[in-house]
Symmetry: C2
Subunit: 254 residues, 2 copies
C-alpha cells in the first residue's frame, strides 16, 4: 500500500522512511485495532525483517508501541500523544482523570509583541495571533494560557470557537503546521494581578510558569506561556541509567 513511496537511492535510510510512514499513519489513527506483524510489514514494504525492526525499535522505546512475544504489537496511544511534550500531557492527563475541561477565552486577535516575536524568530513588529485562555477542569481554574503564533499560518484560527477545542486539533484542521519538536521551561513564580485572580490563588501562593517554543520542520510556529496552579499539579520525571528520561504530570494528592 504505502510501500510505493519508498526511495532506495540511499539519501535517507529505508528504516527512517518506514518509521516516518508508520508515524504518519499512527497520527491518522490507522492502527486503532491491531498493529501489523513484522512479517506483514516486510511484505508490505518489501524490505527485510531487520530493516522493519530497525524502524519499529525507535517507535518502541519511545513508548509508542508495546510488543509482546507471541501476542503481537499494539499501539499505546496515550504514550504516543505524550510525545508531544509535557504541556500537552498536562491537559491530556487531566482529561484522562475523567474531569471535563473547558476554556474561557480572554483574548483572541492580531497583536504585536516583540518578546514573543523574538522567540519565534520574527521581526519585533511582525503580526502575531494571540490566543489567551483561562483553562478550567470541572469548573476549577487549572491554568492561564497564552499562545502567540505567526499571523500567516494562524490567521484561519481567528474564526474558531475556542471554548472547548484544543489548539493543536484546530491547527491540524485548518492545515496549519502542528509542532513536532520544541522545548519547555519551568520556573516557580508567585503570581499577582489579574492572573492570580484567574487561577483562584490566594495572595502569595505559588504557581508554575511554563514557557514553551513549538517547532515544525525546523521553524518556530508557537510561543506559549502557561501559568499552572501549583497546588493541584505536579511534574514528575522518571529516570534510569538504562532508559532515557520521560516527563509526566500527576495531579496532586488532595
Amino acid at each position: 500500500m504505502s510501500a510505493s513511496s519508498l526511495t532506495r537511492d540511499g539519501s535517507t535510510p529505508l528504516w527512517a522512511q518506514i518509521e516516518a510512514d508508520l508515524r504518519r499513519r499512527l497520527l491518522a489513527g490507522e492502527f486503532a485495532e491491531g498493529f501489523p506483524t513484522d512479517l506483514e510489514l516486510t511484505t508490505c514494504y518489501g524490505v527485510s525483517r531487520h530493516t522493519v525492526r530497525e524502524a519499529i525499535a525507535r517507535l518502541n522505546l519511545s513508548g509508542v508501541l508495546r510488543r509482546t512475544r507471541g501476542r503481537g504489537t499494539v499501539v499505546d496511544r496515550a504514550e504516543f500523544e505524550q510525545t508531544l511534550g509535557t504541556l500537552y500531557s498536562l491537559f491530556r492527563s487531566v482529561e484522562s482523570t475523567g474531569v471535563t475541561q473547558t476554556s474561557v477565552v480572554l483574548e483572541v486577535g492580531v497583536v504585536k509583541d516583540d518578546a514573543a516575536a523574538g522567540q519565534l524568530g520574527l521581526d519585533p513588529d511582525a503580526d502575531l495571533v494571540l490566543l489567551a485562555r483561562q483553562r478550567l477542569a470541572d469548573g476549577v481554574p487549572l491554568a492561564v494560557d497564552r499562545a502567540w503564533l505567526p499571523h500567516e499560518v494562524a490567521s484561519p484560527l481567528l474564526e474558531v470557537d475556542w471554548s472547548h477545542t484544543a489548539l493543536y486539533e484546530e491547527l491540524a484542521r485548518v492545515g496549519a503546521p502542528v509542532p513536532d519538536q520544541g522545548w519547555e521551561r519551568l520556573t516557580p513564580v508567585v503570581p499577582d494581578g489579574p492572573d492570580r485572580d484567574l487561577l483562584g490563588l490566594e495572595a502569595g501562593a505559588p504557581a508554575l510558569f511554563l514557557e514553551r517554543l513549538g517547532i515544525h520542520a525546523g521553524i518556530a510556529v508557537e510561543w506559549r506561556t502557561t501559568l499552572i496552579h501549583g497546588d493541584r499539579y505536579r511534574f514528575v520525571t522518571e529516570w534510569s541509567s538504562t532508559s532515557p528520561n520521560g516527563v509526566r504530570v500527576t495531579t496532586a494528592d488532595l
Copy 2:
C-alpha cells in the same frame, strides 16, 4: 578481558550483559580516551557485530555515546552523568559554569522519620541516616538538601567530611549502592521559616521543591528533598516526536 563473565544460558540476553558491563566500565571511568571499536568489542566479548551494536544502540540513543562514521566512538561523559537524573544534573551544570560548589552541613546523624521511611518502603520506626546540607555556589545559596538513607547501607557515611564531596561519590567509595533509577517530582512553593533564610530568599519569593526517590537494583536506597532557589535556576525539557524527552537545567539569565 571482561568477556569471561558472559553467560550463554539464555537467562539474560548477551546484548544486555554487554550493555551492563560497558556501563559498569563507564562508571569506573575506563574509556576516558577512546571507546573500543565494534570489531574490538566483537573479539573481546566473542559475539557477532550485530549483538555488539544491539548493546551499543541503547547507550547511543540515551546520549551517552557519540558515534561518527569513519571516526569511531567517543564517550560524552557529560551526557552520561546526566542520566543520573535532573537533580544530579543541576549540581553538575552549576559546577560546569565554573563556579565552585560548597556545602554547609546542617545535620548528620541517625534519625527516625516515618514519612521518609514510608517512601523508602521501610518500617516507620526504622533507623535512617539523615544528611541535611545547605548548598552554595560561589558562596551564594543554591539549595537546601535533605537526604534520608537506610541505616544499614549508609552508616559508614557518618564519618565523612561533607563540606565539599558529593553524596554519590561517597556512596561509591564506601561500597554502598548508588541509585541507578528513580523518579523526581517538582512542585512550586513559597518557603518560610529557617529554610527561607538558608536560601537567602525574601518573604514571599518562590522556589522549587524537588522530591526524589533513588533506587538501586529495584530497592529504594535514598529519599531526598531539595529546595531550590527559584530565581536562579530553571528546568528545561526538550521534546520531539522522534526522540524521547530529556530534562536539562539551565541557570537563569541574570
